[in-house]
């Protein structure tokens, strides 16, 4: 792998204190994400998958363990680690192009060029001067993706980014995300509770269990892209993930070698 963006998540633990009682939300989480790889974390709500993503982003701290980007420990949030939230979180007072530029000056030729390129990439031509209130959910989320990609992140961290969208928009967004991934080669770490989404997008799927959040299975998805959601192989993989999610036994040991 020539390009950067490798993520090492090593033995991460995290507890939250609630009513003077420490509750373990993440127990000994270790995942190695190779540069340019698409890894999805799937699990029931309360398994701490979003917390894990926030720790990787530097928005939360872990109690134990280490998270490294390109072998360097993560100190805090940075533009190398793009974060897509479940809601679009656009600035409502800025237009589409201003949101994509965010803190950068749009009147600078270099910024202007990059913003225009992003608008094309997320297919929002003609909406440059619209305000977020005028956009649909899918369009707004695409603006958020453009805003993040403009900063050339090495990893894109996606926290259930399409969860609030309708089924049609969601599958369209998933295809757009794959296009972007193919084009930019950005390492992707996605958190979701949508099995189809996980199988459709990822090279590998991390299956988590709740209370405490821990890794149950690590599954490889060896299907060629673009994937057909109705192919037998896709359905087979889907069943495998479903079974892994339902699996009560600790099957971590056997699937550890990936």
């Amino acid at each position: 792998m020539s390009h950067a963006g490798g993520l090492n998540i090593l033995g991460v633990n995290k507890s939250f204190v609630h009513a003077s009682e420490a509750k373990l939300v993440l127990s000994d989480i270790s995942v190695i994400v190779k540069p340019g790889e698409f890894v999805t974390v799937i699990g029931p709500s309360g398994c701490g998958k979003s917390t894990l993503l926030k720790i990787v982003a530097g928005l939360e701290t872990s109690d134990a363990g280490a998270v490294e980007l390109n072998g360097q420990p993560i100190a805090g949030p940075s533009q190398d680690k793009g974060f897509i939230f479940q809601e679009h979180r656009l600035f409502p007072w800025l237009t589409v192009e201003q949101n994509i530029a965010a803190d950068l000056p749009l009147n600078k030729a270099e910024v202007r060029r990059k913003v225009d390129e992003m608008v094309r990439l997320v297919r929002l031509e003609g909406f440059e001067t619209s305000y977020p209130k005028q956009l649909s959910g899918g369009m707004a989320q695409r603006v958020a993706i453009g805003r993040t990609l403009l900063r050339n992140p090495q990893v894109l961290l996606l926290d259930e980014p399409f969860g609030a969208l309708d089924a049609f928009t969601r599958s369209h967004m998933q295809e757009s995300l794959l296009d972007i991934w193919r084009e930019n080669g950005t390492t992707m770490l996605l958190v979701t509770h949508d099995i189809d989404e996980a199988v459709f997008l990822s090279n590998r799927i991390v299956v988590m269990d709740a209370r405490p959040g821990r890794i149950k299975h690590l599954l490889s998805v060896d299907l060629p892209y673009p994937r057909s959601r109705i192919s037998p192989a896709f359905q087979e993989m889907r069943t495998l993930v479903l079974r892994a999610l339902a699996d009560k036994a600790d099957a971590r040991e056997e699937s550890w070698e990936i």
Partner: protein, 260 residues
């Protein structure tokens, strides 16, 4: 419902004018018939005549200019300080702990009660008036700016952290625009309080200004002039309020709110 959309703007204005026109007509009639004393309730026509005469002689504009300058100076001083202090206290916890308790305590003191003190300290001149107006204008902007900053969605701060906004950009690109609706509300309240304080200051003692005009006319029983003064106060107050509302519409057109 549907009907409302079809009605033109002019029709709406005319509809709003029905009640005031009726009141004016009844007033004019009752003074003409002799039901009301011309001394206490001069007829609208004679009030308008007073207004016209004062406009012609330049008397009205002179006093109006003096009043507007006073109000503007006081408002600029108090409003700017209120905005600045509100931002500071909103942004920095330390500043809040240090400043806010004192400001909140001072805020509870009725402004009118301090007026005599201001006159003792700063005399009857311009300074006491401007300072009184400044004090009135300070609090609404302070309170609303503070609130506005504290109401900024913390989720957007997460975005600013991930995008690595500098502290300066965090303030100019996030805090100020997000707090703007509340700041503009503070601005409107500040303006109206400044105007109120101006009236108080000028009625307490002045040798020019619209307040003086009213006070002077009262002592000579020129009731018509008193009415003209009140009308001018109302008009300028309404104008300044409308100005901020135009500003609101221009600056806040990104908002997606219920419009009634």
């Amino acid at each position: 419902m549907n009907n409302r959309h079809h009605r033109s703007k002019r029709a709406l204005v005319l509809q709003g004018l029905i009640l005031p026109a009726m009141i004016l007509a009844a007033w004019q009639l009752s003074t003409q018939v002799g039901w009301a004393s011309e001394q206490l309730f001069p007829s609208p026509v004679s009030i308008f005549k007073d207004f016209y005469d004062m406009l012609q002689s330049g008397e009205l504009l002179h006093h109006l200019r003096v009043s507007v300058v006073r109000a503007a100076l006081g408002f600029l001083l108090g409003g700017a300080l209120g905005l600045l202090a509100g931002l500071l206290v909103g942004l920095f916890r330390r500043a809040e702990e240090l400043l806010d308790p004192t400001v909140q305590m001072l805020r509870t003191v009725p402004l009118l009660a301090i007026t005599p003190l201001f006159i003792l300290w700063f005399g009857f001149g311009e300074l006491s008036k401007v300072l009184l107006i400044a004090m009135g204008a300070f609090f609404p902007l302070y309170v609303n700016t503070f609130l506005g900053v504290r109401n900024v969605d913390s989720k957007l701060f997460d975005v600013a952290r991930v995008l690595e906004f500098s502290r300066y950009k965090q303030i100019t690109r996030l805090v100020i625009p997000a707090a703007l609706p509340q700041v503009l509300l503070g601005l409107r309240l500040s303006l109206s309080t400044a105007w109120l304080c101006l009236v108080v200051a000028e009625l307490m003692g002045a040798d020019q200004g619209v307040g003086y005009l009213i006070q002077d006319a009262r002592s000579f029983m020129r009731t018509g002039v008193v009415f003209v003064g009140i009308f001018i106060f109302a008009l300028v107050g309404k104008l300044s309020d409308s100005l901020v509302r135009v500003l609101e519409r221009k600056l806040l057109n990104w908002r997606d709110n219920y419009r009634g």
